[in-house]
Amino acid sequence: MSTLIKGGRVIDPSAGRDGAFDILIEGERIAQVGRDLATNGAHVIEIPKGCLVVPGLIDIHVHLREPGQEHKETISSGTAAAVAGGFTAVACMPNTEPINDHAGITQFILKKAAEAGLARVYPIGAVSLGSAGEQLAELGEQQAAGCIAFSDDGRPVATALLMRRALEYARMLGAPIIDHCEDPTLKGDGVAHEGYYASALGLRGIPGAAESLMVERDVSLAELTGAHVHIAHMSARQSLRAVRAGKDRGVHVTCEVTPHHFTLTDELLDAPVKYDTNLKMNPPLRERVDRDAMLEGLADGTIDTIATDHAPHHADEKMVEFDRAPFGIVGLETAVPLVFDRLVHAGKISVRRAIELLSTNPARVMNLPGGTLTDGALADVTIIDPDRSQTIDAAALKSRSKNTPFHGWTLRGSVVMTLVGGRVVHRADTASQGRTTAHART
C-alpha cells in the first residue's frame, strides 16, 4: 500500500531540504521525495496550505511508568500522548518498578510498545543495578535486548569512579550515557531553585551549582574516556557554560533542555498561585538569567535537543504540601505548541532549527533511525500547523496524568497529524478544518 503526502512545506534539516515537496510512502518507508509526484493510485493525504511536513519528532527523555506505576501512565497511554504531541518515537527512562536494569524488563517494555502500536519506544537501561550507584548493570545484555542508551535518571551516578567505568564500557558498546546531573549533598532535601523566591516562600533551595558541579565532572570524565555523555534536562546557566567549554575542546558531550526550562521561571512559585505543585520539578525552575541562558544555548547551537522529561504523576500525589509532592510534569502534548509559540514565533530560533532540536538531533545524538525524510528512511512524519492556536486543556490530554502548569495557556503552533511507519496514528480533531485562528476552549 502506498501513501502520498501532497502539498505543504517540507522541512528536513538532515537533507538540507526546505520547500514544497511531496512524499511518497511505500509500506513503512519513504519511497521518494520530490516535486509534484504523480498519485498513481496511492492514498493521498492533502496537506493544508501553510502546514509543515517534518521528520517525525523524537523525545529522548520520557517516563512511561510501566511497569509498576500504571496509575500514573502506561506504555499505551504514554505513546498515545506522544503521537498526539507529534512525537513518533520516545526514549523511556529506566526508573520504573522494578527498575529497567535487566534485559527481561527491556523486552517487556518493547512488547507493550508493540501492542500499543503508536509511537516507537526506545528503552534506556539503568547504568547500575537498581540505579543504586554501586554495581554496573549488564549494559551489553540490555543493549542486545533493545536499550539505546544508559542512565540512572533521577538518581545521578554519584561516584566519579562508577561514572568513569560506565562511560568506558558504554563507549565499547557505542552507546551514550545520559546523566541527570545533581550533586546529592548540595541538593539535600531541596525542593525549589535556591534564590529569592525559594527564600521568601520558605522552601529549601537547590542551587544551580548542584547541577553544574556534576556537569563539569561528567565533561571531564568524557574527556578522559573519549566516551559520549549526554546531559539530561539542563537548567542552570553554569551547566551550559561547562558544556560549551567541553564542546569547544572537542569533548563528546551533548545536552538537552525541556520546554518548561526555556519557558518558565521560579517567580511563578509566588504568583499567581502560591505553591502550585505543578511547578515542582527536578531540576527546578530557575531564575530569569538561567532561562535566558537556555534560550541563548538553543539559538547558538550549544544545546543539541529539546526533550520533555515527561513525568506523569497522579492528581492525588500532587494534591499535597509542596515539599511532599513528587517532582515532575507531563510534557509530550505541550512541547510543540511551546516550541513554536515561545521560540519560533518569538523570533528566538528558526523553524529549521526547531526541527533540528526536535527530530534531526535527537536521532543523531542517540543513534536512532528516523529524524530524516530521505528515500528509504522510516516513514515517520509529523505535520504541524505553525499558525493554529490552541488552548491547553489538562483534562483533554491523552496522558493518564494531567499534571501540567500550562493548563489554560493559549499557544500558537499545533500538531495536525502524526504518521509512524507510514500509518496515520494521530489526527487532530480540527485537522479537517485546516487553519483557524484562535480556537479557545471554555
Binding site: 535556591e194 534564590g195 529569592y196 523566591y197 525559594a198 527564600s199 521568601a200 516562600l201 520558605g202 522552601l203 529549601r204 533551595g205 542551587p207 498561585v273 502560591k274 505553591y275 492525588d316 494534591m319 499535597v320 504540601e321 509542596f322 515539599d323 511532599r324
Partner: protein, 329 residues
Amino acid sequence: MTTPVQIPAPVSEVATERLKSKHLLGIAGLDAGEITLILDTAVAMKEVGTRAIKKVPTLRGRTVVNLFFEPSTRTRTSFEIAEKRLSADTLSISTATSSVSKGETLADTVRNLEAMSPDMIVMRHASSGAPHLLSRICRSAIINAGDGMHEHPTQALLDAFTIREHKRRLKGLKVAIVGDLLHSRVLRSNVLLLNAMGADVWLCGPATLMPAGLDRFGVRSTTRIDEAVDEADVVMLLRIQQERMHGHFFPSVREYFTLFGMTPERLRLAKDDVIVMHPGPMNRGVEIDSAVADGPYSVILEQVSNGVAVRMAVLYLLAGREADEVSNV
C-alpha cells in the same frame, strides 16, 4: 526600663475598616492599613484580659478548630485562650491524635473536619505553603499559626504590638534581628510587617544561615553583630536549633554564642531604651545570655501576654468579615 504605655500609640498609618482576605495566610498580602487595624483592635482586646471576667460573647456559636501538625505549647495555648475569651467553641487537634499518622493526606483530613462545619481553622504545619493549599480547598477561614520556614503572621503582629506599646510607633525604628535567618518563619513575617510599616530592619547571623536572595528582602544585613546592634531600638533574637550543627551551619554552640550570642556587653551598643525580644522557645546561653533574657530590657514575657490580645483581634476581625459577607447576601 520604660513602662509600657496603655494608650494606643499614634502611628502614621490609618487603619482600614476591614481585612481584605477571609484568611490570614501570612503578612504578605496585608497592607499597612490592615496591619494597623489588627494592632488597634488588639488594644481593645488586651483590656478584656484585665477584667475579672475575661470573656466577651463575640464569637458565641462559632466553632474554631486548632489543627497543630507540629509541637507547639505557646502558640496553641495562646490561640485557645484567645478563642475562649471570645466565647468560641474550640477544639484542638495535634498530630499525635490525628489520622495523619494513619496515612491520610492533609487535604482529606481537613475535608473531614470541614464536614463538621467549623468556621475557622487555625493551623500549624511543618510544610511551607500548607495553609495556602487548605485555602484553595476549604470553605472555612484559615489562620496560619506557622507554616514550615515560611510565615508566622500572628507572631509578627504580636511583636509589632509589643514594639508599638513601648515605642509608640514602628516607622523609622532600627530593629536588629539576630539568629537563624535561613530557617525562621518568624523572621520572614517580621521582615514583611516591619517593612510595610516603615521600620529600618537589620538582619544578622552567620553567613551559612542567611537565605539566598537576601538582597531582595528590602533590609540591611551583616555578619557583624556589633553593627546590627549599634543604636538599635529593638533587638530581636531568633532561636538557634542546636541540631543545625549537623548541617554544617556552624561548628559549635560555643562558637555561635561567642560570635552572635546577645550579652549585656553587646547590648550596651544599642539605644538606652532598647527592648529585647525573643519569639521563644529560648536557648539560654546559645542565642541569648540569661542576664539579657531576664534583664531590665527584656520584654519577652510581655510578647507572650500580647499574643493573646493580637490573636483575639485576628479572630474577631476575620469572624466579623464573615458576618459582613453573610449579611451582604
